[in-house]
Amino acid sequence: MWRDIILAFRHRAELFNPLIFFTMVIVLFPFAFGSDIGLLNRVMPGTIWITALLATNLSLEGIFRSDFDDGSIEQIILSGYPLTLLVIAKITAHWCLTGLPLIIIAMFTAFLLSFPEHVLQTLFFTLLLGTPVLSLIGAVAVALTIGLRSGGMLLSLIILPLYMPILIFAMLAVENKMAGMSVDAELYFLSGMLVLAMTLAPLATASSLRIRMS
């Protein structure tokens, strides 16, 4: 995992690209909708979430690409080192490098758009619980599509439907908070999805990698 993070820091451009993309897309929205604060406040959480989905989606391929290209994944499978552990490390590294900074930037952009603070907290929690799930589910899809001819497009095709439930619950939480209701149920549900994804996704990713290598 540390190796991945160090490697990522050596390729600084690649590391920052998704984050810059994220910020820029968010900045595009006020231009599209006008600078009316009330309207922006309403569409902002959705914007942040959708942009987070897209940014994760774009950065996902990096999880396995270099190792796939130079054949190290094959070597690791052959060496008998538990592939699941490696996958967990890779996903954690991916989340630390995209998910975490994404949340921080999301908070800043939300301040930029003078977002009400109590809702911001909910948004923060949904992102904190949701982005790891994005990385985890994404890893499975990446393992399935990496190295294919139309890999990038295909990746989005399979991954976005799987992301929808997370988006729905995150948005429900933010909406409930705006309406002054409790958000416990949605947050619990998101945590449930996180736990489920944490237990199952690494296994699925490892087995898909094996399938791809066979």
Binding site: I137, V140, L144, S150, L154, L157, I158, P161, L162, M164
Partner: protein, 230 residues
Amino acid sequence: MLTPWLSWICALLLIAGLYGGLIYAPPDYQQGESFRIIYVHVPSAWMSMFVYVLMATAGGVGLIWHIKIAEVFAKSCAPLGASFTFLALATGSLWGKPMWGTWWVWDARLTSELILLFLYLGYMALQSAFDDRRVAARASAVLALVGLINIPIIHYSVEWWSTLHQGATVTKLDAPSIHIDMLIPLLIMALAFKLYFFTIVLIRSRTEILEYECNSKWVSDLLNETEVSK
């Protein structure tokens, strides 16, 4: 071998179900005649989920025990399931126009069904992206299993979100809130849809296997046999 039998029973049931649904069943006291679209809508919605579960199970079986038939079966399921899903969505929106006054609402059940359609499409896209059939089957089986978590979300979405879509009227255990004269044709239709699915899926799997094994001996033997008998 089962195919002709299945298709005949299916045709009979389809006719019976259509007759019962379109002519025999009394019009609904609220919705009038247009409720009759449920005789297509509800069975295809059921089938859309049923086929997905079946497909994922077959995919899982193929993945674990490396049974080629299961892989082929899963692959043949996907386009059928996608068409059932599409049918459910299309008939639903045709019905929604006079009833809710709109073609589409962003209601949980509709949205989940749409997600299901996307899952099918993604599955088929992944299936066709590989050159090697075995790898394709196993890779997409993983995807189908991952997507399987979506099925309960679809099913329980009605309870979780308070929505515009009417609740289920048949599967309530105590007393179905649908009149028995309406229910019987509906069940017949559901059965007919199921048989239709099995007929087509068997034909598709057979074609698929023949295509896959087109270089092997038994296929050429089979071909020669049919030509001789002609």
